[in-house]
Each structure stands twice: as structure tokens, then as C-alpha cells.
């Protein structure tokens, strides 16, 4: 009987099975940010266990509120910074070098096919785009990960989603994943890994695959996962070219981390996206999804382009192509937060930042910022935001605020009109 990629990763990393159904696995990467890690650090100190299992496997970043906005967030940053220095964690990214964790760490080449990855952050599933098992955990699991390099899971079953057909103009990975979540429901994948397969995924860039995997958690999924292929090798090549003589050799090694053709799935879902149109969410749950045409004309107060879902260069290019030579509506304010310094600089070199600024966007430093309503664009009570982020919960971007999730293209069209708009007419 064949195995899924998740089963292969679990089998190769198994440390212990303390009880039937519980697997303790060895971790390859433990990622930390300044919101969920400081309490773990304080707890380790209180227990007299201020140790780390492996300084090279721990990565840390200040990203949620940066530069710090008040003394409390400055204290969180300080606890993380002092800890990273104390333990000699070299992959620590502070103000100036920092960006949104799930965009920054892949860009640094930290993730490989077959890896196990945890972080005290629910969108850790993003890293499954590389053929890794990557799961968000709470602070206690993170604490044990830091201390011992292990984590316990109920071994997840896998839902395979075959994405067939071809994407039409104006339809992107974000539209696909919102549509998939609409099909599965917000808990349709609880305790499941979502395996994204099919020709549409194979044709996608790593950035688009990350957008897909990023939102697996919005259907309750433990991790999203894609099969490593030549696209994965190309992306990682600058980091692995001394490990493998050729790209072909790397591809052969990576292919070991693929689901067998006769693997057994919990569920297989076939989706044809050929007729899919741009979509947006309309309520306070990410599975409430409608075609943009049904929502067009809904006024918005703010447009937010950024986050670990859609703050990458590819996203900025798509939005800038629509905004070029146009202005945002006078009734709207628009904020761009490139997800990492590298993305920011490349966007600058390509002239994209100029396009955004001429259109009337405010461009912020890389940060999570408004995505979770902590800084840089928090909504007032009753305000509406068109956002490329991943959560539309009531109050997510500010108490009493409403969030419509959409693709970067749809957000750009919305900025121009000041109300939800179909991007296809601008393409």
C-alpha cells in the first residue's frame, strides 16, 4: 500500500509513539516571532530550563508589530531579541532585516522538501508549499520544540484536492483557495493535511503555491502541502547548489518526498477551475465566498495589500499592472505592506513602488501590521476593508470592522473604484 507525503515525513521523523494515535516527531525547523514566543521564553526561564535544542534549527523574527508601537510591544521584541543573542541564534531578523515570517523564512531558503516545521502561528502551513509538513502550534508546543526539538501530533489524514482545468484571466491562487475553502467549510479539514495536486498547481509559481497552502488553516487543515518539482528546485537552487551537482540531482532527491500513486486518502476532491471567476468573502468566516460580480459596488473605506498570503513580489506586480497610470478613489485609503525587505527592494527596482505611490497608496515597512489589527491600518468601528489577507473574522482588523478577503488584482481594482470591483476590466 502506498503512502502519502505526510505519512512519509511522519515515518522518517518518528521519535516515539507514547500512545496509539499519538506521534512525537523530530523537528527540522522551529520558527519564532515576538507575539507567541516571549511567554514561552519566560516560562522556560521560570522552570530553570532556558535552553534551546539546536541554535541552527531555530529561526526568529520580529514581524507582527515592528518597529514597536508602544512599550508593551517593545518589551515583547526585547524578550525575543535578548533570548536570540543569549543563545547565539544567528538567523534572527530584527528591525531593518525583518519581514512577515511566512514570506521571509522561505525567501531565506530555510525550508526543504521532507522537513518538519512548527511555529507558534497558525499560518505555518504556508511552508507546505515546499513539500514539507508545516504546522501551526500554540506556545506550549513551541516551548517544547525550542527545548527538545520534538512535537506531538495525531498523525493527520490527507485530503487530496485535484485542481484541474486552466485559470482564466484575472483569476489567481487566492481565488482558487477561497473557492476551495468555500467548498470544504471552515472545519472541513480539521486534523487533515490538504494535498494540493493537479495541473493548475503544477503550473503555479512557488509564491502562488504558498498562497494556496497559507489558507489551509482556514479550512481547519493542519498543513497544506504541494509535491516538490522542478519549480521547487529552481526556487531553492541558490541555497542548495553546493549540496547537489545538478538541478536534476536535486530534483531526484526531492522527488523522494512525493505521495505514491496508490497512496490512501481520507478524501479526494476534484475541482475544475476553468469557469472560476474572481471571488471575495462576504461575511465573518473565510468560507463565505461569492463571485466578485455579486459583490461589486460594495463601498470600502480601506484597501490593504500585504500579509503572508499576498504580500509577495508576484502579488505586487499584478496589482501594480492594474494601478499603473490610475488613481485610487478619493473616498478610500490604500495601504501596501511589502512582506519582506527583499520584496520591497525588488519592487522599488522594478518601479512598482512608484506606481503604488502615484496611485495614492501609503507604503509601509514590511510587517503583519493591520492584518491582525495591531498597527499600521487598524479599522474604526463600522469601517470596511478590502484585504489580501487571510482572515475576515469580526474585529480582526479592528473592533467593529468588516473585512472582505480577495486577490491582489481585485484589491487594486477596488482601490480604484472605492468599492468592490471586478479586476478583469482593468486587465
Amino acid at each position: 500500500m502506498g503512502k502519502t507525503i505526510a505519512e512519509k515525513i511522519f515515518a522518517s521523523h518518528l521519535v516515539d509513539e507514547p500512545f496509539a494515535g499519538t506521534k512525537v516527531v523530530r523537528l527540522d525547523v522551529v520558527m519564532c516571532h515576538e507575539i507567541t514566543t516571549p511567554i514561552a521564553i519566560d516560562d522556560l526561564i521560570a522552570r530553570g530550563k532556558d535552553r534551546v535544542f539546536d541554535t541552527g534549527k531555530i529561526k526568529a523574527v520580529i514581524d507582527h508589530v515592528t518597529p514597536s508601537k508602544d512599550s508593551k510591544t517593545a518589551t515583547q521584541a526585547k524578550i525575543l531579541r535578548d533570548w536570540a543573542r543569549r543563545h547565539g541564534i544567528k538567523d534572527f531578523f530584527d528591525v531593518g532585516a525583518n519581514g512577515v515570517c511566512h514570506a521571509l523564512f522561505p525567501e531565506k531558503g530555510f525550508i526543504r522538501p521532507g522537513y518538519t516545521v512548527i511555529m507558534g502561528d497558525s499560518h505555518t502551513c504556508t511552508h507546505g508549499a515546499f513539500g514539507a509538513f508545516a504546522a501551526g502550534v500554540g506556545t506550549t508546543d513551541l516551548e517544547v520544540g525550542i527545548l527538545k526539538g520534538v512535537c506531538a501530533f495525531r498523525e493527520p489524514k490527507t485530503i487530496r484536492i485535484n485542481i484541474n482545468g486552466t485559470l482564466s484571466k484575472g483569476v489567481y491562487a487566492k481565488d482558487v483557495i477561497l473557492f476551495v475553502i468555500g467548498q470544504l467549510g471552515v472545519n472541513g479539514a480539521t486534523d487533515r493535511v490538504i494535498e494540493f495536486r493537479g495541473p493548475v498547481v503544477e503550473a503555479m509559481s512557488m509564491e502562488s503555491r504558498m498562497t494556496l497552502c497559507n489558507m489551509a488553516i482556514e479550512a481547519g487543515g493542519t498543513s497544506g502541502i504541494c509535491m516538490p518539482d522542478a519549480v521547487t528546485v529552481d526556487y531553492l537552487w541558490p541555497f542548495i547548489n553546493s549540496d547537489y551537482p545538478t538541478k536534476e540531482a536535486a530534483l531526484k532527491a526531492f522527488k523522494e518526498w512525493s505521495s505514491d500513486p496508490d497512496a490512501v486518502y481520507d478524501r479526494v476532491v476534484d475541482i475544475d477551475v476553468t469557469k472560476l471567476t474572481p471571488v471575495v468573502t462576504y461575511g465573518y468566516k473565510p468560507d463565505l465566498v461569492k463571485p466578485v460580480t455579486e459583490m461589486a459596488g460594495t463601498p470600502v473605506d480601506q484597501v490593504y495589500l500585504g500579509s503572508c498570503t499576498n504580500g509577495r513580489l508576484e502579488d505586487l506586480r499584478v496589482a501594480a499592472a492594474i494601478l499603473k497610470g490610475r488613481k485610487i478613489a478619493p473616498t478610500v485609503r490604500a495601504i501596501l505592506s511589502p512582506a519582506t525587505p527583499q520584496i520591497y527592494r525588488e519592487a522599488m527596482h522594478e518601479g512598482l513602488i512608484d506606481i503604488f505611490m502615484e496611485a495614492g497608496f501609503c507604503v509601509t515597512n514590511p510587517t503583519c501590521g493591520a492584518c491582525l489589527g495591531m498597527s499600521n491600518g487598524v479599522l474604526a468601528d463600522g469601517e470596511v476593508c478590502a484585504s489580501t489577507t487571510n482572515r475576515n473574522f469580526m474585529g480582526r482588523m479592528g473592533k467593529g470592522g468588516m473585512v472582505h478577503l480577495m486577490s491582489p488584482a481585485t484589491s487594486a481594482a477596488t482601490a480604484i473604484e472605492g468599492m468592490i470591483a471586478d479586476p478583469r476590466k482593468y486587465l
Partner: protein, 175 residues
């Protein structure tokens, strides 16, 4: 042996998320105790008052499917803990929230829909209390002059975590 419980707070909606349990703007707090005043602050539910007496007195929460979805923040179990709520009973949980509860030595108990409906039938009595006996895997509900005992399933690992008081010491000794 560990028993959790007391007065029950009924939250009659599915998909209650961690932003509703503790809004992100309070994630800048450094200690668990600092979270105490903000429990369920953004939850909009008919008849529910985050500052109300019923909420303050509660020791157990009863809710519907997919409780605790959304962010991984352990601040959600912590805000319950510092408000002396140490057990949540629901039809189902989001994975991370469920594990966070057990990792902290608290209980996230799943019951089938008809049993949850039965618990909700006690919501109207002012004196309803619920006790969760982890070792015996039984829930005792009492209110309005009647009572019931409901057995529940619990994975042996999660049971061991609750009985050990959490995951950190367990893991440090073992791995």
C-alpha cells in the same frame, strides 16, 4: 484526581474563533494574568455579556462545532485559565486550540451533537453546574432539579497531559 467544573457558560454558536475569545490587540500583554479582563470581549451573541455575572462565575464553557478556530494563540486557553474556566465542552474543536488546552493541563472535551443538545437543554436553569472527571471520563450535569452523567472519549495522550499538568515537564523528562 483532577476534576474540573462548576457553573456553566453556554455559548450557542458554531465556529467561535480565537479572535472572539481574546482579540489580537491584547496579544501585546506579557503575562497571562494581564489578559484577565478581556475574555470573550468581541463575542457578539444574543443574551451574552462578556462582563456579566454569569460569565464571571463560569468554570466550564459549553459550545457547538469547531470551537477555537483561527489563530494559534495560546492566549485563548490562558484567558480562560486566568478566569478560572478550565474545561470547554463542544461538539468539535479546531486542532490547535484543542491541543493548547491539553498542553496547559486543561480539558477540551468533545461530545456528539445529541449530547451537546442535551447539555444545552440545561442552559435555561439558573443553577446549572457541570463537572468533568478526567480520570473516570465522565461529565456530571445538574440543574433545575435534575441531573445526568455523560461518558466521553479522550485520547490517552491528552489524558496523560492533563493528569501530568501539561506537556513541558512531560516532554522534558521523556525526550
Amino acid at each position: 484526581m483532577k476534576t474540573f467544573g462548576g457553573p456553566a457558560l453556554f455559548l450557542d454558536r458554531a465556529d467561535i474563533n480565537t479572535d472572539e475569545i481574546i482579540p489580537a490587540k491584547y496579544l501585546n500583554e506579557i503575562t497571562k494574568q494581564d489578559l484577565q479582563p478581556y475574555m470573550l470581549e468581541d463575542l457578539k451573541l444574543a443574551g451574552f455579556d462578556p462582563q456579566g455575572e454569569k460569565t464571571r462565575e463560569a468554570r466550564v464553557v459549553v459550545s457547538r462545532a469547531n470551537f477555537g478556530c483561527g489563530s494559534s494563540r495560546e492566549h485563548a486557553p490562558w484567558v480562560f485559565e486566568v478566569n478560572d474556566i478550565t474545561a470547554v465542552i463542544a461538539e468539535s474543536f479546531a486542532r490547535i486550540f484543542r491541543q493548547n488546552m491539553f498542553n496547559c493541563g486543561m480539558a477540551a472535551i468533545e461530545l456528539p451533537k445529541e449530547k451537546i443538545d442535551l447539555l444545552f437543554s440545561y442552559a435555561g436553569y439558573p443553577d446549572t453546574s457541570i463537572f468533568v472527571d478526567i480520570a473516570a471520563q465522565k461529565i456530571n450535569v445538574n440543574g433545575g432539579g435534575k441531573g445526568e452523567v455523560l461518558p466521553f472519549e479522550l485520547s490517552p495522550f491528552d489524558k496523560a497531559l492533563v493528569l501530568a499538568g501539561g506537556w513541558v515537564d512531560y516532554a522534558d523528562q521523556k525526550y
